[in-house]
Symmetry: D2
Subunit: 391 residues, 4 copies
């Protein structure tokens, strides 16, 4: 695949980045991810709203100083004018800014790689979906866990009917390391994801809940349709919800649960899913991502492992090394970049492997329905359309 | 402990059994459990309502034929009259019969060891609680999983504050072997637990949900107070619920979830709990019962193992062998018998190690509140008192 | 099976015990094991050479005081004369006493259940083999781990060719809890197994190595034929070897390793095996005895679990409870008693499920060859015959 | 760290590669590894001895065609002359070629990154050690598993005395996937590692045994001093050994075992170690590299995890992501490149984190001693000096 992209283009893809400066964890994660396969070259950026951090970050990435911008609008405008301008941009800023940034680059003909949650509201998400549709550019939402080979294997097995009819969908992203389980003594030290002003009181559903929701839909191929929710604020001095229990109905009759938490003390990461059909079940935990447990009714538990014989082509294409050489998180993330590069180079995504703007909208709808349900005492709420828009 | 009982009594405890004949899985389980420590001697029984099975079962247990009874009333009456009559009786019949059998033996001065769920309704459960209180006899509800040393260790750690404030309580008993995941082609082949007429449509909550609920309350020392429930019938041709999702509030402000299922295909047993406090969490799975995972905030995961140095006295007293020699299910069950023998012999249960009639009532109240909640669209329902009774 | 024994005999098997008093861990282990299925009744004993311990132990077991003996010879003589004399005797004394005790009971027509290692020397072991053959009584060596259902499953799979040709045999019993990893400050506090005078310098090979060796031969059905050994004394102040590394050749061309250790600090038990054939491999660890890992060449790892569909009859007959209800160590040990009871009641052991005197002899030959090899600088030594006897 | 290198140099390190063309697994592995942190730029190569593969590989890497060479000597000569010539070269060819290639680049002032095993013979290894010493250039042997954060944590814990005195050292690299467990029908299809002509009959010890040996020495900080070996050829039609059992003495009195295998059927990778001291033990398995098990004498087992609080600085510096985001094999390998970049940029390796030519020599000495021991019937052989050279 990597050879294919270079051969087709005769060069690496030129990439820009908004946000994600040297002080950003997610920025460095994206950089590792797009470096892995050698298909991208970072050539431009508005890496921070702080000019000093922006400049230092640009130097560290060996950017041409004149392509280190102080605002994304200037960057979009200038890069669109250059003959060697960027092909694609990574948006690694807080979610309330994603819509306007994405729209700005899309309308100038630049592909967009966007962090999750996609936007702050379902209304914004709908607008972004429409902007993507109205452009002729590509868009990917970096739900990075969909890049794991064994997640893709699970998806293919569900599609191929290996589970029979899907009945129960258990997913959780329940973390509890000190950084999220406790509020700082000084509220001013709060990360933006713990501020109600940033993403609303239900920010947890965008931050971690979105991954659990997305992976459940990704693997089952079914959208959530109704939700009954219980949202709580548990940590002292916290102003947003930090634990969300959702019971969910899915298309086709499956039901399930989603649990998002920052106060599952002692858990390091906590993303996992279990999908139960009438013939078999699958279980996957992000902390041991090389293994997908398959348990047929009445049969033994089988540990399917990355890159091993008999896996689906979609899973095998997402691996680089032989079985037993753990690929891990960065290479899963890199798979999104590699697949996106293939699309940019003109290949087709016949399998829908990459998370879309529609997926981002689905999550925002879930968040809003969950909030309504919680406010109404756990009443079942349809996801339906976002407020004021026809679905 | 075993020496203590024999020394105090100068003999083994004389035991009778109602139900649990040779065709009964749970009957043989009880027999293994009470044989392990050599503290009991089975001397009487009404082992089956089928006279042939009753007689064959009595022969297999080498009972004196005249102490093999055809009905529990005769048995209670005659044994109460004998000088060498039974000290205690095991009730291993379906739940709708427990109340009258228990009352009959209690009022004749015979201790009662009762299978779960305790009764069919909360109203019956309340009557049984009162009958126990009115008698001077002992009663234990065989929630056998409370006999595991590492469950008791968990309970002691919560009590001692090792978790800080308990915040989240996750428990499940989600099974899916062929025997429960599928209905037989011929409805007449149904086990009584899958008949609405026997325990009502919510039988699953009594059968497996009761264990998850009981273990959550046992370990945390907190009663459930409110519930929001989603009950489903998923397997084809089934007439009772076979999946129950409960969100639960506990005394003291903790919240949690209980999941009971017969359609978690591929899971062999499926009882587990995770308890999260603000300082640490605990995790235990019945299928690996020797290990209790302790994870302190920001600390490494620690695998506490049965019988190892530093465990609580309550846990250590519940073990027989050195660490690394798995004790398993039968010996956990045997711990209930061993502890009950100590009570019969006059020791005191200062720690409340054995499940009580009040615990049984708590489960029946949960079942009824969950049913009301489900019927009302997942509305929050208080457990409160059972219908028509002051709580 | 248990019904079968009682039905055939019309009573329980009458059992005596030599050694194993109230101060003996192994004694109580045997008692739990023979109680589980209700097939035995302990009626006589020479439970300790200390008269007070013997008497207290007898009272705790509710023995008739006149059947509590002070020496095994008197016990054998008197019991053989009684009409209600014991059918079988358990020998739970140190190994250097086994030969004379076993011979005494066998010649008086009493079946023998003997602890391992069988004797102190290969010469004694040969004499015991001959005494068993010369008698018409039954003998079982309590290599208790052979009672685990998944060990028997492994054995059946090897026999049935599921692994193809057996090539590599890895087994270890490497412990390291404080009780064995460190010598007491006062040499007088030493357990007999750490005294050279008791079992020789290579006592570790009889004590724990015998289990690893036995289970390797039991599962593969192949005898060790040559050994190259490295024996070390590692713990301070210790006078016997506490670590043994053996490289072993087996009949049929397989090779492998045996590791026995008391200084594998941090390991609680440490018995495990891995058997590799040219088509597949098996792995089992005593600390998770419910699972047998099966890995076919190029296939996924499969977790075969106790009592599940598709296991061999020999494995299924060794289980009592449904899958997911861990049976553990005591019930594995109980399987030896249950199988031995069936033999006493007249059933046939067509499958050779129970460890024999020949198995005990094989271990003693290994020990002696390993000692010779170590003394000769790890030279390959044939197990051959014991000194002075034709093999 | 990555910022540091770029800041110091003001550019990326210019890298060349010998071998490792598009048809080479190890070549692509190196490329992923050096891309991850963005510190290197591949600018030259003699990527294959096949001119077409060399050219295609160079195009895929976007090399300037005039820097795609057909032989390493021309490459070394020309690159040394260019102002923008390579700083370092990766040697990814078969081992018998390493010495001459390494010497050629070293003497022209180019740093060397060399695949393992370092050379074919101990004599060659000694010459390479001397060549490195005689040059003022840097050399690293890519024993990639030393890059794992939890391997470095283990090393630091041993150094800090967390285990007490090291006593037992168990390491293995026992693989058995179809690619290595079976010979192709047609001997001409053999990989070079299965040809006696390439690395000798004991090639397995260089290929996989070298990793097990290296990691044992790396973690314990002790060199192997004597070995007793059993080498076998097990797979049909194979002409080299495919199973090696080594018992090993280490400096300071520790003993241990090394197992290298291609016929451990069903194992995917198989590298692991267990180190036992008198106070505690450590266990690590490459297939779950995020976890280092620490078991103190009499204490619970503790799962130390990558990037978590309390780890050693050497371990924490080798991580990029928060705990619970598995870093895997490629990022472990990348750590060697990152550390080597820091050395090139002028930082000091005060901790000896990178495998050296001396380490490579130690392995070759082990291989030769093991071969002598096996030929002499498992006799203990000192590693001593390589033949004809003073050690």
């Amino acid at each position: 695949m990597s050879v294919g992209v270079i051969e087709r283009l005769g060069r690496r893809i030129r990439l820009g980045m908004v946000g994600g400066g040297a002080d950003s964890i997610i920025g460095e994660t994206h950089r590792v991810a797009f470096r892995v396969d050698g298909l991208y070259q970072l050539v431009a950026g508005a890496l921070s709203i702080d000019p000093e951090i922006a400049a230092a970050s640009a130097r560290a990435e060996l950017l041409d100083p004149e392509r280190s911008y102080l605002d994304f609008r200037t960057m979009a405008e200038r890069e669109a004018q250059r003959e060697d301008g960027i092909d694609a941009v990574v948006i690694a800023t807080p979610p309330q800014t994603h819509l306007e940034i994405a729209v700005e680059f899309l309308r100038r003909g630049i592909h967009v790689i966007c962090e999750k949650p996609m936007t702050r509201t379902a209304q914004e998400a709908r607008e972004l979906v429409e902007a993507v549709e109205a452009s002729d550019r590509l868009f990917v939402l970096t739900h990075c866990y969909t890049g794991y080979p064994m997640v893709r294997q699970a998806r293919e097995m569900v599609r191929a009917g290996a589970l029979g009819e899907v009945r129960l969908v258990e997913a959780e992203f329940s973390s509890g390391d000190p950084g999220v389980a406790r509020e700082p003594e000084d509220p001013a030290q709060r990360h933006w994801r713990f501020r109600a002003a940033s993403m609303g009181e239900a920010a947890i559903l965008g931050e971690v809940g979105s991954h659990a929701h997305n992976i459940a839909e990704y693997v089952t191929g079914r959208r959530a349709t109704r939700v009954a929710a219980r949202l709580d604020t548990i940590a002292q001095r916290r102003e947003v919800y930090d634990n969300a229990y959702l019971t969910v109905e899915y298309e086709g009759g499956a039901i399930g649960r989603l649990w998002s938490s920052y106060v599952a003390v002692g858990q390091e990461h906590g993303l996992s899913f279990r999908i139960f059909g009438d013939d078999a079940s699958l279980e996957w935990r992000q902390e041991e991502p090389e293994v997908l447990w398959h348990r047929a009714l009445g049969g033994p538990a089988t540990a399917l492992t990355r890159a091993s014989d008999g896996l689906s082509p979609a899973s095998l294409r997402a691996t680089r090394f032989r079985p037993g050489h753990p690929e891990g998180y960065a290479l899963a993330f890199a798979n999104l970049y590699r697949d996106f590069a293939a699309l940019i180079a003109g290949e087709r995504d016949d399998e829908g492997l990459l998370p879309t703007a529609e997926d981002g909208l689905a999550t925002l709808r879930l968040i809003e329905a969950a909030t309504r349900s919680n406010d109404a005492g756990c009443r079942w709420e349809p996801l339906g359309a976002e407020a004021g828009v026809d679905g």
